[in-house]
Symmetry: C2
Amino acid sequence: MGLDDRKLAVLRAIVEDYVSTQEPVGSKALVERHQLGVSPATVRNDMAVLEEEGYIRQPHTSAGRVPTDRGYRLFVDRLSRVKPLSPAERRAIERFLVGAVDLDDVVHRTVRLLAQLTRQVAVVQYPSLARSSVRHLELVPISTTRLMLVMIADTGRVEQRLVELPGPVPADDVTDLRRLINEKLANARLSETPPLVQALVEEAPTGLRPTMTTLATVLLETLVERHEERIALAGTANLTRGGLLDFQGSLRPILEALEEEVVLLKLIGETEPSTTRVLIGDENEFDNLRAASVVSTGYGPGATIVGGLGVLGPTRMDYPGNIATVRAVARYVGELLAQN
Amino acid sequence: MGLDDRKLAVLRAIVEDYVSTQEPVGSKALVERHQLGVSPATVRNDMAVLEEEGYIRQPHTSAGRVPTDRGYRLFVDRLSRVKPLSPAERRAIERFLVGAVDLDDVVHRTVRLLAQLTRQVAVVQYPSLARSSVRHLELVPISTTRLMLVMIADTGRVEQRLVELPGPVPADDVTDLRRLINEKLANARLSETPPLVQALVEEAPTGLRPTMTTLATVLLETLVERHEERIALAGTANLTRGGLLDFQGSLRPILEALEEEVVLLKLIGETEPSTTRVLIGDENEFDNLRAASVVSTGYGPGATIVGGLGVLGPTRMDYPGNIATVRAVARYVGELLAQN
DNA sequence: TCCTGGCACTCGACTGTAACGAGTGCCAGT
DNA sequence: ACTGGCACTCGTTACAGTCGAGTGCCAGGA
């Protein structure tokens, strides 16, 4: 069971070579490209052990070795240091994110940036409503029986929803409703609003009661139940790099998975505080993504986390590089959000 | 030069067979599957003429014939009747679109519906701001020197933008600004706002002048210059149907094109009144999309057109079916918008 | 004049065989 | 414990041969 230092070095070398060449790597090529200080025969023995332990495998009898998911896992956990970003990359990040005027703008720029830097598919979750607080709720009369409800969150997210009122409501009443709602809900965390909304209805003056009831329903629907998470995606064209070798020849399942917001949210949304999560191959729960890996992390202003972002690519990806990039981008985005 | 009726029938048969089988079609198979009333030899002679005229071609000397872009064009223009939708499809459309609460909701449902019905990539443009009118402009104070500007258009679109003010502005002033702006801009077509915004600045009371100037800049930026068109996309996984035969083996250029909003807008956004546009293969202006066809049309409440929608797929697609579906969906969406 | 059956021809797809070589496992020797 | 050597495996490539779908052309007939 013992994996001595050299065996680990061999594994590392295999991963690095395979990631960069995309071809099974043999013992001879290994000793040539890395200074292992031993002969190919020795490496072969080490390889036999690594294979027995499930870290690498042979696609065909007469081919070199390829890391398994388990091998990548070991590599990520113990054999790689996070690559520092190049100054060029740092500059690219700053240049890209400076000048964003809008939350939408920030998210779009971020996702494109990530895709470009990592050359993978990038995914960015908008700040989660569940983790946001209400900054302001606005009621805009559209007609006598219709209101547009606009919610502005502290994270910069803006949600709107058309509300059909049970009957005509005069402008003054709208003003009153707006005041009541804001008094009660402003600065409340969205996850804590349900009882407050309930109270709003109960405490509403009789005249406003029916309207307030309708509004309350819509509020709960929009802000909590259908807790509308949004996602931005970019770089799908990067899936076609590496020919058809990655993803065993069919992009189909991957593209299907990428169309499901629910899937993406599970992948990058469930982030524990401030760790970078790496899901390798079949470690993730979706069959469609058995051939893919995901590197994700949370971001947010300061120490709090309001959303997730990450990249998805073939298991054969540059983990250290991608981890570094994802982290760096998340940090910059966090700073950007903190400024607002 | 004369293409008599039988030659056209042969072309139609070739297109139909090729679209459904995805394989080059030969003279013998043709006479078997269609009642042309002549022998394979005759069909071969017709084919020779059709090939000479550039409507079909042979992938290899010993293979059957395949329609060229020009052949599809002739087929679409003169040889096909628009398929009526099946009742099942009609029902699917209604069921899908009923219950949409929101413009966002409508657009998302529409794009998924289109992708599902046509089994192609679907694209839906949000109602264009350029073709919308202002319904209401709201100013929401975020802090003493920051406002959130929210514009609600008659098409249901809502745009927001954070505004940094030159200095602190008291709440009463915000109220005044809101009133001034709405008096001037409400119901104006967005394309006609620039002079109105200019007037706003000139007519503003001296005290509000600096703030109004800032607001005017942002208004013009947000609403006109960077005339923010939005796009929704779905069904990219459908590109992988038909193996790697369509798109000559590489999805890359297609996926790249689909990531560019500008490209998509050109494809589906430039719609002349109420026609359905069909772009076949290299008829479209983007090199990346030489192997693809686009069927698109405009939609809007009543007779006016506020945006475009359509589908993109291999040149080998079911044009009559897709044209019918795109039109039908556009009409339903128009009705839906008209209700708001 | 137009259609048809017949026939020779082309050429890609498929099959089988052989040579090649990258890579391995094992073993005896240091 | 490492190394050089060697036999072996097996995928890749090249080449030759066969098969057959599909064609173009032509002479004969309606």
